[in-house]
Symmetry: C2
Subunit: 217 residues, 2 copies
DNA sequence: CAATGTAGTCACCACCGGGTGACATTGCAA
DNA sequence: TTGCAATGTCACCCGGTGGTGACTACATTG
């Protein structure tokens, strides 16, 4: 068992910033590969090939590391991403179509972000730095979008735009997150593009039915 | 430290069936009070005031115990419960109203079953005996109900009834489960009856808009 | 080149989880 | 009453976790 002073070539130059980045990156990898349940200091340090004590020294513990990870991650679609294809100068596009487009963009955005789906699932069960961050961003953005929609939909005072948006986005959140583990929900294949087209088509229909102004048929 | 042969009066008569019941009941209590994350042999045995080895002997491990617990629990609303208030002899009641009533009953049923909400949350994250059981029952029942609805809604071939039912029930699952930990979703208070009335009213509107036969307005 | 603070390593602790083998006690049947 | 299987108790083992103190190795500065 001679472990002499073998100069290990894989040693990285000592650099705090680099190490911090490695830890943050490792957090993402552990989350993606093993899920939230296994996300702990030991697993992260192992993945980053770094000693776990550095998590305490640099981030003051797991919470701090998760906060750092949350702030530098692209978990939530930007407003621009959600509004792609929406004519913002108003009037030219029926509000129902705007709604449908936003929800379509939302579906695409979620299905392309597996880590967001992980967090979305986990926030059903536990509240922590990551889930709190995602919640906050979502709630603010949701309110902004809903507010804009509601303003345009004044011609339909009997429709509760916030409730409608809540229902549809809740359904999308649920189905997208569940598609990680199951294939069929009520007979609809939620792992498949075809299944989502059925869902999106239905969303479009109900948006038209509820939001179109009566005279613009 | 004299621990003589003090005959402990709280000793139960030895009885396997009684013990099994205690373990099953303790499973429910641990689940309700500490959530899924803490549901393990140690916690259950402690709660049941019984040695954990009996979980292995009688149920062949935690999985078996959870299966037993699932089979004897009232986690899922029965078809009768969901169909309460629905006129089944058909024809007399518009299909939109039937749909709305079923979804209303579903909301009530879920909000009154905290353990079901726990399981519903957990099945977003992990698949085990309990969540698998709930999934199976739901999928079967959902398909049956959707099939019945679809048969009645023949007059609206352009509407994808399964997709519509999936959307609405997914939204209900999501919002009911999330209401365990958060209060507002997109500005709607999901811990409050008033908030749910907004949601249900919107469900009723979209059911009318999509399912009502064109001539029965 | 020496000194010093920082980056990183290592060994260790207490705790808790699942799981098991050996033992004591009880009820019941022969 | 005796014997035995069923019931229940206890003491462990193992591995993993979060967390900490003492150490070494390095880079930079004077």
């Amino acid at each position: 068992m001679c472990h002499l002073l073998v100069t290990n070539d894989k040693r990285m130059a000592r650099n705090r910033q680099t190490t911090e980045q490695q830890l943050i990156a490792a957090t993402g990898r552990v989350l993606a590969q093993q899920g939230f349940g296994k996300l702990g200091v030991n697993a992260i340090a192992r993945e980053a090939r770094v000693d776990k004590v550095l998590i305490y020294r640099y981030f003051d513990g797991l919470s701090g590391l998760m906060r750092a990870y949350a702030e530098q991650g692209d978990f939530w679609p930007s407003a621009d991403e959600l509004l792609a294809g929406v004519d913002q100068v108003s009037g030219l596009q029926p509000i129902a179509q705007q709604f449908t487009t936003v929800m379509h963009n939302y579906v695409q955005a979620l299905r392309v972000r597996p880590l967001t789906l992980q967090i979305l699932s986990w926030e059903m069960v536990e509240r922590n730095e990551l889930t709190a961050y995602l919640e906050e961003v979502r709630e603010q953005q949701g309110l902004a979008l809903t507010g804009a929609l509601a303003a345009i939909a004044e011609h339909r005072p009997e429709v509760d735009v916030a409730a409608l948006a809540s229902l549809v986005s809740a359904a999308i959140n649920y189905l997208a997150a569940r598609s990680q583990h199951i294939k069929y929900f009520n007979g609809v294949d939620i792992t498949d593009d075809a299944g989502w087209q059925r869902l999106e088509r239905t969303i479009a229909q109900l948006a038209e039915a509820l939001l179109l102004s009566p005279d613009s048929v």
